[in-house]
Symmetry: C2
Subunit: 344 residues, 2 copies
C-alpha cells in the first residue's frame, strides 16, 4: 500500500511543464493556458498528488490553522461552539487546533508560542480567566496573528470579541419572573472573578432595582456554573427564613443541580419555587421539569468567532473589521417557572 506521495516535481515531469506552472494551476488556475491547465490537472489526477502543507506553510509563512483555547476540555458547554468554529474554519481550508488553558499552563508552555513557532495563524480563546501575565504576553503577538475572545473576554488588552447579550438576557429573565408575579428573587452566581458572573450579577442587581424589588444581600448566592454548586445553593435556599419565590441561576447546570437537590428534599419546582437558568443546554428541555432558560446560540457564537478571525487574517491590518460582536439571546419559557404560590 504505502505508496510514496508524489511531489510537485513529479507532477511537473508527468505533465511536461515546470513546477511553477503546476503550482499556478493549483492555486491560481486563470493564470495558465487552458490546454496546459488540463494537462496538469490530468497529471495531478494520475499521480494522486497532494500538496505538502509543511512546505507550503514554510514558503507562505502561514500555518493555515487556528488554535482554539478552552478552559477545560471536559466541559460539554463548549462542544456546540467548537462545532460552529470548525464549520467556518474548514470551509476556508483552515484546520482547528485545540488546547486547554489549564494543560498549556501545567506543561509550562506559553500560549503565544503557538503563534511564535508558526503552528497557528491566530487564536480563539474561550477563557476569560487567563492569568494576567499570560494576557500581557498575548499583547505582544504580531498584528498579523489575531487573537479573539469568544463567550468570555478579558478587560485588559482591547482584544476583539464575540459574546452573548449577557445583560439583556439577565434583564429579560428578571422581568419575566416579575411579570408572572414574583417579588422576591434570588440569584445563584457563576464563579468568583469570572466576567460572565459579574455581567450577569450586575445586570441582575440593576434590574431588581429598576423594578423596585426587595433584594436581601444573602439572596445573591455564590456558585460556579456547576451542578454541584447548584446543589449547595439549594441547601442555602432551604435554610432561608424568608425564602425567595424564584431563583435565577447564572447557568443551566446550576439550575439543574438546584432542582435536583430540592427534589431530594421533597420540595417541588415550580410549586415551591420557580427556577430558571442561563444557556439552554440540550438537557434543559428534557429535564424534569423542563427548564426555563435564556438561550445562547452557541453554534452562532462559534461561527461568528471563526469568521471574524478569518476576516482579520485575510485583511491587511485588520482595519474595517468588526471589533465586538454580540449574539442575541432569547427567553425560553418551560415548566420550571410559574406564578408564586401556585400550589393547588
Amino acid at each position: 500500500m504505502a505508496q510514496k506521495t508524489s511531489t510537485l516535481q513529479d507532477v511537473a515531469r508527468v505533465a511536461g511543464v515546470s513546477t511553477a506552472t503546476v503550482s499556478r494551476t493549483l492555486s491560481n488556475p486563470k493564470m495558465v493556458n487552458e490546454s496546459t491547465r488540463e494537462r496538469v490537472a490530468e497529471a495531478v489526477r494520475v499521480s494522486g498528488y497532494r500538496v505538502n502543507r509543511a512546505a507550503r506553510n514554510l514558503r507562505t509563512q502561514r500555518a493555515q490553522s487556528v488554535l482554539v483555547l478552552l478552559p477545560d476540555l471536559a466541559n460539554p458547554f463548549f462542544s456546540a461552539i467548537l462545532e460552529g468554529i470548525s464549520l467556518n474554519l474548514s470551509r476556508r481550508g483552515y484546520s482547528m487546533l485545540i488546547a486547554s488553558t489549564k494543560q498549556v499552563h501545567d506543561s509550562g508552555d506559553r500560549l503565544i508560542d503557538y503563534l511564535d513557532d508558526a503552528r497557528a495563524d491566530g487564536m480563539i480563546i474561550l477563557d476569560g480567566g487567563l492569568d494576567p501575565a499570560v494576557v500581557a504576553s498575548l499583547k505582544n503577538a504580531p498584528q498579523s496573528k489575531p487573537i479573539l475572545f469568544a463567550c468570555e473576554w478579558v478587560e485588559d488588552g482591547n482584544f476583539p470579541s464575540v459574546r452573548s447579550e449577557n445583560r439583556r438576557g439577565t434583564g429579560t429573565a428578571v422581568r419575566y419572573l416579575h411579570s408572572i408575579g414574583h417579588r422576591k428573587i434570588a440569584h445563584v452566581t457563576g464563579p468568583d472573578g469570572n466576567v460572565l458572573m459579574h455581567a450577569r450579577k450586575d445586570a441582575f442587581v440593576a434590574e431588581c432595582e429598576k423594578l423596585d424589588l426587595e433584594l436581601k444581600p444573602e439572596w445573591i448566592i455564590p456558585g460556579d456554573f456547576s451542578l454541584r454548586a447548584g446543589c449547595l445553593a439549594a441547601k442555602t435556599w432551604i435554610a432561608f427564613e424568608d425564602r425567595p419565590t424564584a431563583v435565577f441561576c447564572a447557568s443551566d447546570l446550576l439550575a439543574l443541580g438546584f432542582i435536583s437537590e430540592l427534589s431530594r428534599q421533597d420540595f417541588k419546582v415550580p410549586q415551591d419555587v420557580s427556577v430558571m437558568g442561563f444557556d439552554d443546554i440540550d438537557l434543559a428541555e428534557q429535564f424534569i421539569p423542563p427548564l426555563t432558560s435564556i438561550r445562547q446560540d452557541r453554534l452562532l457564537i462559534g461561527e461568528t468567532a471563526a469568521s471574524m478571525l478569518l476576516e482579520r487574517l485575510t485583511t491587511q491590518s485588520g482595519e474595517g473589521t468588526e471589533h465586538a460582536a454580540v449574539v442575541p439571546v432569547s427567553l425560553i419559557i418551560r415548566e420550571s417557572t410559574a406564578p408564586p404560590n401556585s400550589r393547588p
Copy 2:
C-alpha cells in the same frame, strides 16, 4: 510590539557559532560542548528564539500533530475523551487537530488527505460508522502514519483500537438487575448499525439466555443513544401489556430521556420500573433519581488511545505494540434501580 521572530541564523550570529550547532544545542544538547551550549542558550534567551515548526516539519517530514475525528463535535460524550487524548499528546509535544467526520464528508474532503498532505502524523477516530469507501481509502495510509479507533471501531481493516468492556459491562448490568429480583428486563438499543449497539445488544441477549430469563422480541426497543430516543422508548414501554420490571438502556442519555418521559406520565422510577444506563456521564449522578449505570472511564480511554498512537509513531514498523486495548468498566449503583414491586 510585533517584533519579528528571530531565526536559527540570528541565534547563530549572536552566539558566534553555526546554525548546525544551535540546532544541535536545542535538539541534542549532549552533542555539544558545555561552554558552547551555554553561549547558545544565552543567545536563544536574549533573542526570544522559537523554532519555526513549519520549517522543522518540512525538514523532518513530521507534522508533530495528530488528528482526532469525532462523529459530531456537538456531542458532549466525547469531551472527556478529548481531554485524555490532549493530555498525553501535549506531554510529548504534539498538537491536537480536531475535525468531525460529518463536516469532512460534507465539504468533500477526504480523511486521508490529512495524512497525505502532511498535516498530521496519525489519527484517532471516534466514529465506527464511517462510510466503507472511506475506510477502504484509510487502508492505503502509509504504515508510518498510524490510524487508531477509540470507543467505536470498524470490523474491516484490522486497525488498532481501544474500547471499553462493552460485553462484560452489559453482562454485569443484567446480572445485577437479576440479582435484585428482576425477571423481565427490556433493553433500549443504540442506533441501528452502530458497533456498540450490536456489542451491547448481543451481550444483553446472551446474558438473558444464560440466566434463563424470558425475553420477548418487543422488549428489545430500538433507540439511538439520544435523550429523545429514550423518551420514545418510554412510550413504547408504557404501551406494553406485559411490562418488564427493569430496563437496561445502551446509554445514559437514553436512560435519562426514558425516565423524563415516565415522570411526565406519572410513573415512578424505580418504584414502577428500574432503569439503568451505560456510560456514567457527569449528569447521571445528579439526576433525579440518580442513575444506576455502567461507568466508562473516558479520560483513560483518551489517554490510552493517545499513548498507543504515539508508541506506533515512534516505533519503527509498529512491531511489539499493543493492538487492542480494553478499558475496564464498573457498575455504579444509584437510586434508579430497586427490587421489583418495591412500591410501599
